[in-house]
């Protein structure tokens, strides 16, 4: 139990344009913190793990509050889009339903009404729910600073628990998700520790594409794992194994074994590895069913 304190005082900015926000960041660097939902930031400030002198609220920047889907191009999710907005959005095609599932796995209604998908990534908790789904979708993150922008695959973003490659002058403005080919469906499955926080113990996001429902040959597969390694990770060996094979019961079982073997849980390792198997098996079966429907 960490003692909570009153949060330190700071200068509050709520710029209405992205260029104002990044120039504030360029000026104050690590003395500033970017703020949107606050469900992580304000808790860390109460714990005095963070004592920023400047807080830059992004919620007045309207261009960051968008969800946008274009067929053939894909999906874009802006920095201030909350889990609640995403989970109830009509703009998401059915094939991206795993993103809704992952957002609904986050916290409670109150947390989802405030917390953002981008914030979930920026906090970089190994047990975060949306990264496994986004890893499976091969999402990219747009990082913007006053000097320019770069786009990085989400699998290159996380470094160690709660750490990532984001510079103090940068902010994540949006998530870019490439469109999925026909016969693709995703699934996010998780289960939680039985504690007040309901932290995710194992999270599995998969996106499966097959050539057709007769042959069921896997033409593309993305597998993201949460809470079973120091960072959210892709199960690349399992993906390589499954690609090009007919997705039947035996192959599903072997894929699950491989993913379980490449996961790197630290505590409760044996149980977590076993649960990786169970969830991958279930997720693949469910994804096939969804493609069929």
């Amino acid at each position: 139990m960490i003692r909570l304190k009153k949060i330190n005082n700071f200068e509050y900015f709520a710029p209405s344009t992205l260029s104002e926000a990044v120039s504030l960041l360029a000026k104050y660097k690590e003395r500033a913190k970017v703020f949107s939902g606050g469900t992580d930031l304000l808790v860390q400030m109460k714990q005095r793990k963070l004592t920023p002198e400047y807080v830059i609220d992004l919620k007045n920047i309207s261009e960051l509050n968008n969800i946008d889907y274009k067929e053939g191009e894909g999906l874009r999710i802006g920095a201030t889009v909350t889990h609640g907005i995403l989970a109830s959005s009509q703009l998401l095609p059915e094939k991206f339903s795993l993103l809704k599932e992952a957002s609904l796995a986050v916290g409670s209604v109150q947390t989802r009404n405030r917390g953002t998908i981008v914030g979930n990534i920026a906090t970089s908790s190994p047990s975060a729910d949306t990264p496994p789904a986004l890893l499976a979708l091969e999402a990219r993150l747009k990082l913007v600073s006053a000097d320019g922008e770069r786009v990085v695959p989400i699998q290159d973003f996380f470094t160690t628990p709660f750490k990532n490659i984001l510079q103090s002058t940068e902010l994540i403005t949006e998530i870019e998700i490439p469109d999925l080919p026909p016969n693709s469906r995703g699934v996010y499955l998780w289960h939680s520790k039985i504690t007040a926080e309901d932290e995710t113990l194992v999270g599995v996001g998969i996106v499966l594409t097959v050539d057709n429902m007769e042959d069921k040959i896997c033409t593309h597969i993305g597998i993201g794992l949460g809470s079973v390694a120091p960072t959210p990770m892709r199960a690349e060996k399992a993906e390589d194994f499954l690609k090009g094979k007919r997705v039947d019961a035996d192959i599903i079982k072997q894929t699950a074994e491989i993913a379980s073997n490449e996961s790197l849980p630290r505590s409760r390792a044996e149980y977590r590895k076993e649960m990786v198997k169970v969830h991958i098996r279930r997720a693949l079966i469910r994804a096939l069913k969804r493609i069929e429907e």
Binding site: L4, K6, I7, N8, N9, F10, E11, Y12, A14, G38, T39, L42, V43, K46, V55, D57, K59, G84, G107, S108, V109, Q110, T111, N113, R114, A196, E197
Partner: protein, 158 residues
């Protein structure tokens, strides 16, 4: 010295123009400056839901909202539910069903229920459970609470 932030906010239908310190939480603004102490401080980390209020109709934990952020918003607290001396159907149902013991979770519980019923007038039991999953009660268990929300839904929309 950090600058004060000017905010204009509608709280329970009353309009306030306030100067707030950037590190003031909405919870403390409501309790200490506006004098609305129905909103409770529980865990202070967004887990228990005792501090739940509605901002533009959405349930949020006011212990994790800055007062500076609610500029231009509509905030509803438990004090805003009764109209002209008449309790809100949810408040009535909580009384009738005995859905409150120590009462500490009740304001937050009722506001989460209100956010649900305003969007979904005829929720299933499962939907009620999800809606109040961020509100912890340590006295009654949840049976009577769920029953009360269900009965309020019938009063309001049938």
């Amino acid at each position: 010295m950090a600058h004060l932030v000017n905010i204009k906010v509608n709280i329970n239908g009353d309009y306030y123009e306030l100067k707030v310190k950037p590190n003031t939480l909405l919870l403390d603004l409501l309790r200490n400056e506006v004098g609305l102490t129905g909103t409770k401080r529980g865990c202070d980390t967004g887990e228990c839901g005792a501090c739940t209020v509605l901002i533009d109709g959405l349930a949020v934990n006011s212990c994790l909202v800055l007062a500076a952020e609610v500029n231009g918003k509509n905030v509803t607290t438990i004090e805003g539910l009764a109209k002209n001396g008449n309790l809100h159907p949810l408040q009535e149902s909580f009384m009738e069903e005995g859905a409150s013991q120590c009462g500490f979770c009740t304001p937050g519980m009722i506001l989460s229920a209100k956010a649900l019923l305003d969007k979904n007038p005829n929720p299933t039991e499962e939907e009620i459970k999800i809606a109040i999953s961020g509100n912890l009660c340590r006295c009654t268990g949840y049976k009577k609470i769920i029953k009360a929300i269900n009965s309020a839904a019938h009063k309001m929309y049938c």
